[in-house]
Amino acid sequence: MNHALILPVLLPAVVGALLVLAARHDRVLARVFGVASAVLLLLIAAALLATASDGAIRSYELGAWPAPFGIVLVLDRLSAMMLLLTAVLGLGVLLYAINGWDERGKHFHPLFQFQLMGINGAFLTGDFFNLFVFFEILLIASYGLMVHGGGGLRVKAGVQYVVTNLVGSSVFLIAVGLIYSVTGTLNMADLARKVPHVPAADQALLQAGALMLLLVFAVKAALVPLHFWLPATYTNAPGPVAALFAIMTKVGAYSIIRLYVLAFGADAGEAAWLAAPWLLPAGLASLVIGMTGVLAARSLGQMASFAVIGSMGMLLATVSVFTPQALSAALYYTLHSTLAAGALFLIADLVAERRGALRDRLAPAPRFPQGELIAALFFVAAIAMAGMPPLSGFVGKLLILDGVRDSAHAAWFWALVLSTSLIAIVGFSRGGSIVFWKSHAFESAPQPSRRAGALPFVAVGGLLAGLVAITVFGGPVHAWLNLTAAQLFAPADYIEAVLGIAGGTQ
């Protein structure tokens, strides 16, 4: 048994609790512990990624209860990749936040740790109900982070966010109940084994449950028409929190990839590829609405929010093709869009912090301190997000266009991906030129900066460096992702790793 599997959940849980108890009133201590935990998480995630790279799937039985009865954590390439992505984004956001954002309300650091715990748990768990519990953990922490710093508009947007997600949780439970009532299991591997043998009379219940689950994951992933909560939430959330939320939509995407390839994949009999006919139109619609929203946005934060919706649409439409080639392209795009969205939200916050009452709205204003540097950062992030060469967005789009070549709907993909790219480019250049360029028309010199810490720039630069890294090492990364997709499309290995060679306990 490999105890390292539980560390990504255990470490933030312990540090979070410690921070609440011991470091509540000590700012420096809280920062030191928070950053130390984030760095440790990064190291653990890198070690787990190295472990998972040998292709074996590891399972960890909590309390040593055997698999279909106890709860398991499962580490495969996909989980390891998402853990590393979370750790990189988490460290970047935390470095940004400790420059002052964490003082604007209480309990930022414990909530941040609990949020990381929930996200890591959701990526590791091999059990449905446990997935629900980890979703709740990350949501509860996100409610606290969302209203961090207070303010009427933010709290009101927070109420909308909480209500949306509570309804989503109810639907999640009903879906889990439906699936349990038909198959009698909550273990994902066990479910994959039982779905093909579900009698025809129970198929309606099973498929209704599975599609309701898809609905819940689509709410989390902000797919059209379930995306309405996202722009209000992300735009009104504190900048660093919105950047961290960039990974939360990916939790929904991860769950969709995990469940609908493993349990409702090629071997599922009547329920095979259950998600595909729903995901494809919803994904393409999200792509169009998201990228059009970038053009119509009234602030940089809104622009980044709609870019998130658009990129989620691109990602899930590509997933819905359900071939290994398309999936590996989608996974590459996941890495890229998470880092790019995180960087964009942080840059929007950098601008908002410096322009007084105007915040990050798209309106001309006098020049602000470090404007040139921020403009350069925005330029890089926007190029990446819009998918222009030479950064990873371009590589990701090429991979996607190539990956869907054999699909029956390839023409739709090509037309929509290319035209929405153009819309996004226009949108980003409009926003960038209003905020950064037109400020030079004003006579006044930039006011001296109130507090010009270097740390925020290190954080944004780090995320952008991540983008550059996955571009430069695009070849090895893509080769690794191909292996990941191949592993996902061989569910027998996953089932064997979780349930043991015997497989049949009943």
Partner: protein, 153 residues
């Protein structure tokens, strides 16, 4: 018994969905509670309805009651209880900070949200007194309110 449980779940879900779609936070919170009750009852029923059965499979038992959904329901109850508390606190905070208890954001809210705004109470009274310089006439308070609202619109 099946009909009773099923119709109870259905009725609570219907009422819950209806109330979640209301415009003000209090009915929304009540609706969420009803939805979670319906969900809990549904989860409870997924182990099949069985009366007077042991919760384990025994050698001499003729049947059994599935204990797993009961454990799930316990978890779900605890989580929904906590979440209701969170949403109540956030709704109160939003009411105190923005001045009204409507769910919509300020920029896109209906005119009623402004009428209900307690922060604008002072402005309303001032408008009322401006409409009737000699002080509020006891005979027609409604006309003054309508006038004040009309001015704002």
């Amino acid at each position: 018994m099946e009909f009773l449980v099923a119709s109870a779940i259905g009725a609570m879900t219907t009422a819950g969905v209806y109330m979640v779609l209301r415009a003000r936070t209090f009915p929304v919170v009540l609706g969420l509670s009803l939805l979670t009750y319906a969900t809990n009852l549904f989860l409870f029923a997924t182990g099949r309805l069985a009366v007077n059965q042991p919760p384990v499979i025994g050698a001499d038992a003729t049947g059994y009651a599935d204990p797993l959904p009961q454990a799930l329901v316990l978890t779900a109850i605890v989580i929904s209880f906590g979440m209701t508390a969170v949403v109540v606190v956030m709704a109160v905070r939003a009411y105190l900070e923005t001045g009204n208890d409507h769910v919509d954001l300020t920029g896109e809210s209906a005119p009623e949200a402004q009428e209900d705004d307690w922060k604008q109470l002072g402005h309303k009274q001032a408008a009322l007194e401006a409409a009737q310089p000699t002080g509020p006439a006891p005979g027609a308070p409604g006309a003054g309110v309508a006038g004040a609202v009309g001015e704002r619109a």
